[in-house]
Symmetry: D2
Subunit: 442 residues, 4 copies
């Protein structure tokens, strides 16, 4: 397993990046890349741009940048497009969202103005608190999917792209459970034909991408590609898929603090998480059915990390609550407040409280970049279907049915980096390090 003979196709050529949604996350991502290309800002938060990877032992001092180690596309190769139910250009969107300061928008205003969103497939039945009029006509879902496929082909041709990556940066849809129409591709396509309610708009985007041979990444908690039909299609088309729900604020912290408790065998009595946020995301999640989708995504984390069935004394009976409140004064800034009631030696209680004053889109934008570049790498390396090694980026990582998902951020990181080492034929890191002590006598 330590070495591999992976053939990875070269990273050359243009990569079309199509974001579903051109709101706060997508516009912050695109604006950021443009600024970084011009040397006007740093790609902070991006593993592909700033991260390093240790190769060999601690004394070898071989720690290249990841982008010097694996053949990633460069930022100059990226070309951006988007769909959105609002007709605002990336420039107008960036101004309205209030994430970036004028000083970060003005220098690249021309580039942002050129990005006009294609009409979206949008249906208020799935996102109730929004409305938009830059919307594709036609109510048959199969037709809508075909229209999206045509968009992709047109964009590829118009910009001379060699490859396309599609990534969902849009809202949370209402809660859907996997059902019979999601079981295999034939059932799925039949349901598209009848515009079955179980086929959400996000699925049409994913279907279109996969049919066009483009990887699809899912930044929201929507079901989308996390159904057998899509896994089947991805395998058939030989393209990577992944999701779901960008791991940015509170859950990022949770997947760090819960592993700490677990590492130290400290018990958990309760974990109360509340969020206040004031952007479009907060508005959408004010709808209980959209919140339900998000809640399910956020609640699973602790069970998988703490494994109550293995540790009933410690984790068999904790109370976990997650709340999200739309609070306009916060704007795109998001605040998470967590209260953790845990217990130690002989059962004595202790508490941790965390106030996380973060910025949603600022945390999400570099994940979009990394996912685009790593997915494109995976595609060129011949990896297809679910990319579990990208779990690092997701609140609710998609995984093979035979295994449980890994939520622990540090296991996810180890998996990601060892996958890169494995792709490049480098020895995997185990942190054993006994060799430094074998002959050490002071």
């Amino acid at each position: 397993m330590q070495s591999s003979e992976h053939h990875i196709a070269p990273a050359a050529g243009k990569v079309g990046v199509l974001t579903v949604g051109l709101g706060a996350v997508a516009s912050t991502f695109i604006a950021g890349v443009e600024l970084i290309k011009r040397g006007l800002a740093e790609p902070v938060g991006s593993l592909t741009q700033m991260g390093t990877i240790r190769l060999g032992g601690r004394t070898e001092d071989r720690v290249p940048l990841i982008r010097d180690f694996v053949p990633l596309a460069g930022l100059d190769q990226l070309v951006f497009g988007a769909w959105d139910p609002f007709p605002d250009t990336a420039y107008e969107s960036a101004l309205k969202c209030g994430v970036l300061e004028r000083a970060h928008i003005d220098p690249i205003a021309a580039e942002l103005k050129e990005i006009e969103p294609m009409p979206a497939v949008f249906d208020r039945a799935y996102v109730r608190r929004l409305d938009g009029y830059n919307v594709k006509p036609g109510t048959n879902k199969r037709e809508l999917a075909e229209a999206l496929r045509q968009d992709i082909r047109d964009f590829k041709a118009a910009h001379g792209c060699d490859r396309i990556v599609v990534i969902w940066c849009a809202s949370t849809e209402v809660y859907l459970e996997p059902g019979p129409t999601h079981e295999d591709l034939a059932a799925f396509e039949a349901a598209m034909d009848t515009s079955d309610a179980s086929i959400a708009p996000s699925m049409l985007y994913a279907y279109a991408a996969l049919k066009e041979g483009a990887p699809f990444m899912n930044g929201a908690p929507n079901l989308t590609v996390d159904i057998p039909a899509m896994v089947e299609l991805a395998a058939a088309q030989g393209v990577p898929i992944g999701g779901k729900d960008f791991k940015t604020g509170q859950t990022l912290l949770k997947t760090v603090l819960a592993p700490m408790l677990k590492a130290r065998m400290l018990g958990l009595q309760g974990w109360y998480s509340t969020n206040i946020l004031g952007n479009r995301d907060g508005e959408v999640l004010d709808d209980p059915d959209s919140f339900r989708t998000k809640e399910v995504s956020k609640l699973g984390v602790l069970d998988y990390i703490l494994q109550p069935s293995r540790h009933p004394t410690l984790y068999g009976d904790f109370h976990h609550a997650v709340r999200i409140n739309y609070y306009p004064p916060r704007g795109d800034s998001k605040e998470g407040w967590d209260n953790i009631d845990f217990f130690g030696w002989l059962g004595y209680p202790m508490q941790i409280k965390v106030d996380f004053q973060c910025r949603d889109s600022i945390l999400a934008a570099p994940l979009v970049l990394d996912l685009v570049l790593f997915t494109d790498l995976a595609h060129r390396a011949g990896l297809k279907g679910v990319q579990e090694w990208l779990s690092f980026y997701f609140k609710s990582p998609q995984h093979a049915p035979s295994v449980y998902p890994e939520h622990d951020l540090f296991i996810q990181q180890t998996k990601l980096k060892n996958t890169l080492r494995w792709l490049m034929g480098e020895e995997l890191i185990t942190h054993l390090g006994t060799e430094y002590y074998e002959d050490y006598e002071g």
Copy 2:
């Protein structure tokens, strides 16, 4: 590296556990073990008692308890002794410290009353805020060390112990830098003869233990065994050593949150940590020279985790402050408040604030137990000198001069668990897991 032929001597026989100090930590540890032996409480917080270890792939479902996997001494085999400058028995100490409730002391009062501390080697020049009169006579440091050796031999004989482990659970001494008298064993012994000021009381305990073939673990930030002379002696005697400074409260959190920032390539502008605590530890640390020792131990953490030299843009210029304030209303409960100023995509600032309401001795006691049992295991497995795989337990882990210390709690955990796997000839875990996806098509 995956398999090994380690011979590990059986765990049979009595293990004498000698704590230096019989204050809050030691009495909580001893009382806890006695309660757990009687089934009156759970060993929460102890990896050796409650932890599991995954062997093989995720689908193999081989996840034994660590104590069923490696041959550890059982709690029934442990016999307790202690040194302390105060003459209180473990019972009196437990009552005075106010850590445990009466309901946790009364059932084991008889056992605790039997543990009377041996007279300590104590010198106010090294711990200024305390005074004690249960102290060994004689001012020549060599003589004091010999008296401690005699104590160990007497205890071993009196209780029929097969093996001894000595562990420092006492106060923080004033700051000392490594100097010429610490360079090798000969210089060290000469300095003992002249009672040189560079030889702190803690070093005499360590010297005595090692000379008697007993491992020594250092729970305070004192220099003690982290000098070449002691490493030399440990190697010569074939015994394990380790330290320093139990990683319990704020630093535990820091070694989890800093790796999160690093994993996500989020930059750091400043980290302000303050602590309020009201026990004897707080009183001792109110002395600036003792605080200096603690401060050095606590400050190093971030630099090693964040590696500013590799990531100057992200970590080249952060402001790190650590404060400790003696605040009697807190008692043994300790509260840490951390403010973390970090930045993300394009440099936008965000903040995390953590209020950690913990209990010092409750967090430390299971570490004492684990260190005793793992060190005894290491000894029986023929591991000698610095036990870097136990870094997991320390704020400032002792390590070989050729490598930097690992502070990231999750790297430490991986190192610990892979060391156990290696000792038992099991495959090391890399979290690659590509096999689950090779033929997965939904």
Copy 3:
């Protein structure tokens, strides 16, 4: 206005204190009074027991205890009774609620065991999350009220009481709006006869008390005596009434912090309040209709203090949200987390965050005591109807229709203390104090 000729009847004789509800608040109140009577605890939190009152100028040094200044009943004169739908005695209730430690229950166990609750008037339509079987038979509301009157007469006779005070210490009922049946006494009584849904159980208790000449105080946000029919009855009977909703945790803080913003003319953009609590109160409030009653009580506070109509620039558009979450790990301890977004000079934003780790019943119990004693005083002083001077104790103070309620804790305190001064013919305090500076030249 400075002086008065109030005749206050002497405080002699026994005062029967009948609590509606014998849960956490009532049992903590009764247990506390019994402990205090025996010198086993201090009446912390009680203005009547520990508070002082300044008389005259700062240099006069006349600052007696309030209980030495006004003729209050002593604790030895109080006799306790209760109604509750659960049959637990005060002893059993105190044990189950988990508010008090055994050390505070054991010494007075005998007294607490004697307090057996009378069968309650209880209807799940008004408190959905509870059920109880110590309930009065009969569904006609008039009959139930008469049964309560009989209880009061029986209790008075059985214990030889000279006076009775009834105080609501029970759950929050579902939300009711004042309607035609509440308009006057005749309509109210007719509605009792037909068991109209607009007549809540709490109103029957209040009606019974007033008809028996006993003051009624309302510790929950229920409508109860805050309707014209009850004000009419109280006036006719010559008895004091008051309410509503004990001001204990988050709202207590709010009525201190909002006045601070107002005093300094700092603007408010938003105030987000969330609560976690794990007792019966939390369980009841998990029902949206009970929560609605509480929410209305909690939300009004800011508008009355900040007066948006007078200060539209500062307070014309703030976002105020109050959330309550049932979180069993907290037990009777309650935690409030407030986030306040305010702005200063030129509109620059600032934030205050408050984490209030309080204990619900510990904060409420002394308010029950003070309200009982002050109401009894008011009754003896001939004050009848709404006691606005007791606003100090309520989240949503009942008041005359001609004026707005005072929510500012410090205005409430001034009103309370100046009322006591006025009752006793002392000069009112204005804090002018110019006299100290007229001839002051250093």
Copy 4:
């Protein structure tokens, strides 16, 4: 006492406002006034500009703006000047301090550039962490004071001012105790002649102001005018004085939360306050001797509010600690974290934790404006010497020796507003309000 025959001279003419120091506070104050004059911002935080005052009963609805009620100078009448050891103009200072955004500086750049600081009386012996070269020559303190007097006369003549107010907006000096040279004016003047070390630079400014007939307000905790010699001089000259230390952040909160505990007779076990701040103020306070001055100013608050001697059970033994840490990442933003350990009924412990994310200069600037305008009013009303009614604005209010200072923000507010009512012959407010209930029967 309710009515008065105060003659108040009209507010007409120009008022020269001379700030000692032209740093963050002074430049934010001046810039703000200029913006407000142009209608480009609101005077948020200023009682004189936005505050109202209730006259008569609640039902009278007479609540004018304070500035419509008392004859204050208008903003258009103010003319600004300053002294500073750095030669930066108000424009350069505003840019460097980083308090205001460019959008708030650019429109008034011309006005700010005109304000060039006069050379300061500065001595590093009193403010160790700063250095400056825009400093008056001459080491004899009397000469320096005379030079300041000349500055005042020159400024007054150059700008055609009718009146002058001098206000200290500069750094905290090292700790000084009142001594023999401060006892009377003759001793003070003799000490100036010998340049005695007990005469701090701030005293020379105050002396110069008073000799020129200008009121002096002290925004730092320095001794300055809080000595008998200055009170004597102010009385002789007929001018108001006041101080000390603007009450902005943590102490503002403390004088609101401590009165809450006191109002409710809740006991206090400990109060731990820490601050992090990153501006020049933080840098100066990093010097232990300057910090000592600040600490004394901040620590006194609780004792005066809680009165331990009257309430030994509740307040006889609390632990109060105040820490200030220089933390450059904060800039002019200041963060206070308070932990309050209090106890209630029967002694049960509870906690409040407050995180105050404020902006130092934004909170101080409107206080400067109010103090200038109210002091000018007092001067015209013939009030001289210590203005205790302005205690509202100070951490450590100056007061007559015969009385204790009032620290409770709400007593201070009542005092301030009743003083205004008294000046204008209006009835004082007592909040009694019994009249609304006398004939109220529902």
